[in-house]
Amino acid sequence: MTDTNKNAKANSRLGMVLPLELASADSEKDKVEVTSVLMFEVGGAAYAIGVEQTEGVVDCPRITPLPSAPEGVAGLTSVRGRMTVVMDLGSNSVEQNIKRRLILVKGDSQLGLVADRIEGVVGLEPKKLRSLEKSKERVTAQRATLGWPAKSYFKRGKRSVPIIDVERLAET
């Protein structure tokens, strides 16, 4: 599959989300491995998640609170008959009056990430990805992720956008 196709497929799965930029020109497609991420905003901060790790985006249904839930877990909701644990990465600054969206995470975790706004799919070339595991970047890392697990981030305008590490998120 070409990267363009991959993105197209990811976009159709994500419903109404429009791509912010084309992943790569067709002529380059065999040379560069492009990572597609879904960028979203919650609590005023921007995050991204690998498109391949998502199952779709839906309007966030009413959330039922979970007793003694860990930090970041907003509660529980049912999506397509499947119980989904909703995580809110921006739990302190929720804009209640806007229609929120829920990004469904692939896998057994039955996890969904709440988003105030979906910004779209971004194709990232490897050189644009910055590792958060290098010590030089650690300060940026902490500032960018607000403590949520991430392995890498990228720059978008002035903002550093961390790519959420879903597996580690599910473990917390």
């Binding site: 009413r62 039922t64 007793p67 909701t77 049912s78 397509r80 008959g81 119980m83 644990v85 039955q110």
Partner: protein, 698 residues
């Protein structure tokens, strides 16, 4: 025949699937014209093997035996002992159709012995053709150091056993012995039982002797032993041992086995006379196979899941539509009546959607009946083999569980049962000495406990000797000598892989599965294994299985504005009390119940959804006589009764508990969740563990 209707249904539906697969494979085999696909033959072999096992479990001895014959032929085919030519494959097709025709009738008890005989004859004809040819060409047999006369004495079965043993890589030995005529019987029995311990006594051939008072035998013995070991084995009887395989053949055979190739010299040149295989089954014999065996339709579980998801989406769609209709109503001049009708209608549809969803999930649920019946039969059979008498009591077979769980837990149940029969139960004599009835009892029981299904296996055998287990655990270095262990911890030691021989529990012979494997499987399913025992009296193994998709009867209550589902098994009583009956203050309230003072807490508080309400001032419910009452749910936590105050009692209903996934498992006190009308979700609370979490308050 199968008496139990439910079992019959299950059997037919499973058998039909196997037969369909078998017939399809035999058809492909026939059309492959000699270029046989090994995978195809292997699959056909496994299919017939499964059918044999299934029929055996159901006590259909005829089907089992004929399937066994069929299996033998396929086995020969797949191991290259029998070449596949057109006639053979057509005959196999015929035999497959014949088998399919007989299964339904056999299960219902309407197949005649004649029909089985005809099928057996057909199978025998195929087999004989193959054996005639292979006995000429079969290097395995021909290469043995046996005279032609001796070889002629071997029965078909014995030839088969020799081939099987060679194929399994065992060595064949000739043991020449001579016994005194008057001690013949005893000596022979002693020797043969000795041989049976380490290998297989294939046959005994007559042998020349030197003295008239002696009778000579040549025993053909197969074993994975070296020549010297066999010699030592038969020393007490002055046996002479020689290898039956010629050395060149041994090497070639081993090399071929290692390479996974078939033996040479069995090319498909042999002719099977068509006339002998044709028309063994009379015309019309296989017609019955056109009738479906079972009225069931098999669907993939994923299809059910997709339908469930769709139903759920639809119900939410109706919800949205209703909301829009409400807005339109507001803008119109319609009256209260229409408004009511619209709301009523919408609610109705939503309820039906939820029911639809639940029905769909029910499709995934199967009862434990079949598993339990098989298990009970197995235990009975095993006991007979071990010379023990046992009564197997079965209870709760109607308990329904997700098919995925039932399928995976079967082996664990069998394993624990085998353990109970083999090691739990004493022998008849031991039981008599212990003052117990000679006949042991094993109880296999399923029950719902909270939101879990518990499968309990109890035997009234010798129990587990705690001191012995501990001693062995220390010997094996599993625990330190100074370590203080509770009774439960000690019992759990027998699950330790390195310690499966602890106490009275030892690994069941011939099975590679230990109790640690049982525990691993149950853990993987999200459950736990519990062990209880009293030395000399009984042992109970409990397999507590997860909540996923277990149907429970639940009571829906409201607290702090949210709805919660509570398993009725955790509720002792629902009561309304007057506020003045509630004693104490915030954080330390209590109430009188059945003559005792029990602590009272608010569900909302326990869930961390708000502080304690002033119950005396805010009663929520108006009881029948018009006075204000507080709804209380009497439950229990850690052996004491507790009253839980809620805002409102809703209703009792059957619910399907859905799992919260890997994150949900970490949430204590929440067993799962259930979809409610309106797209809402109610948590299914596990009250005892929830209360234990907050026990500081009680």
């Amino acid at each position: 025949m199968i008496e139990d209707k439910a079992l019959l249904k299950d059997y037919l539906s499973e058998a039909e699937e196997l037969l369909d697969s078998l017939l399809a494979d035999l058809d492909s085999l026939a059309s492959s014209r000699g270029a046989a696909d090994t995978n195809l033959i292997n699959r056909a072999f496994r299919t017939v093997h499964s059918l044999k096992g299934l029929s055996g479990m159901m006590g259909l001895a005829e089907v089992q035996s004929v399937a066994h014959d069929f299996e033998d032929i396929l086995d020969d085919l797949r191991l290259g002992q029998l070449a596949l030519n057109e006639q053979t494959s057509v005959a196999l097709q015929e035999a497959g159709a014949g088998l399919a025709a007989l299964v339904g009738g056999a299960a219902r008890g309407s197949t005649s012995e004649n029909d089985f005989d005809r099928l057996r004859q057909l199978l025998a004809a195929i087999a004989t053709k193959s054996r005639e040819r292979t006995s000429k060409e079969d290097g395995g047999l021909a290469s043995l150091n046996l005279s032609d006369r001796e070889r002629a004495l071997l029965t078909e079965y014995e030839q088969h056993r020799i081939r099987e043993n060679l194929r399994a890589g065992r060595s064949l030995y000739a043991i020449n012995v001579a016994f005194e005529v008057d001690k013949l019987d005893k000596s022979y029995r002693a020797l043969s039982s000795k041989l049976d311990e380490t290998g297989e006594l294939v046959t005994t051939l007559p042998d020349k002797t030197t003295a008239a008072s002696l009778v000579g035998f040549k025993i053909v013995f197969a074993a994975s032993l070296k020549e010297g070991e066999v010699k030592r084995l038969v020393e007490p009887w002055d046996g002479r041992v020689s290898r039956l395989e010629r050395s060149t053949w041994r090497k070639a055979g081993a090399a071929l086995r290692a390479a996974g190739r078939r033996m040479p010299g069995r090319a498909s040149s042999a002719k099977v006379a068509g006339t002998e295989l044709d028309a063994v089954l009379p015309p019309g014999f296989a017609q019955e196979a056109l009738q479906p065996l079972s009225p069931s339709v098999r669907v993939e579980m994923s299809q059910i899941d997709e339908l469930s998801g769709l139903a759920h989406e639809l119900s939410i769609g109706v919800e949205r539509l209703t909301a829009m209709a409400e807005i339109s109503l507001d803008a119109s001049n319609l009256g209260a009546r229409e408004r009511f009708d619209l709301r009523f209608g919408a609610r109705q549809i939503q309820r039906e959607f939820i029911e639809l969803e639940e029905r769909l999930v029910e499709l995934r649920m199967v009862s434990l009946a079949q598993t339990f019946t098989r298990a009970a039969r197995l235990a009975g059979r095993l006991a007979r083999e071990l010379g023990k008498s046992v009564t197997v009591e079965v209870a709760g077979r109607e308990t329904q569980l997700d098919k995925v769980i039932v399928d995976r837990v079967g082996d664990s149940i069998y394993h624990v049962l085998r353990n109970a029969v083999d090691h739990g139960l004493e022998t008849r004599d031991e039981r008599r000495l212990a003052g117990k009835p000679a006949r042991g009892t094993i109880r296999l029981e399923a029950r719902l406990e909270g939101t879990r299904a518990v499968i309990a296996i109890t035997d009234d055998g010798r129990g587990i000797d705690l001191d012995e287990v501990q001693r062995q655990a220390i010997d094996a270095g599993v625990v330190a000598p100074e370590e203080e262990l509770s009774e439960e911890e000690t019992l759990r030691l027998i699950l330790h892989p390195g310690l499966s021989t602890a106490g009275q529990i030892s690994p069941v012979s011939g099975r590679g599965v230990g109790l640690d494997a049982v525990e691993r499987t149950i853990h993987e399913l999200g459950g736990e294994v519990r062990i209880f025992s009293e030395k000399g009296r009984w042992t109970t193994f409990e397999l507590a299985l997860p909540t996923t998709l277990v149907m429970i009867s639940a009571f829906i209550v409201r607290a702090s504005g949210w709805r919660y589902a509570i398993n009725v098994a955790q509720i002792m009583e629902l009561v309304y009390v007057s506020p003045e009956k509630i004693l104490g203050r915030d954080g330390k309230r209590s109430v009188e119940w059945r003559g005792a003072t029990i602590p009272l807490v608010e569900l909302g508080y326990v869930l961390g959804l708000g502080g304690a309400r002033r119950l005396d001032q805010q009663p929520r419910e108006v009881a029948g006589n018009g006075s204000m009452k507080v709804p209380l749910l009497i439950t229990y936590a850690a052996d004491r009764n507790v009253a839980l105050a809620v805002e409102q009692f809703d209703e009792q209903r059957e619910i399907v508990v859905k799992s919260l996934g890997s994150l949900g498992r970490k949430l204590k006190g929440v067993a799962g969740a259930v979809d409610l009308e309106g797209g809402d979700v109610a948590l299914v609370l596990d009250i005892p563990s929830l209360l234990v979490l907050r026990s500081t308050r009680l």
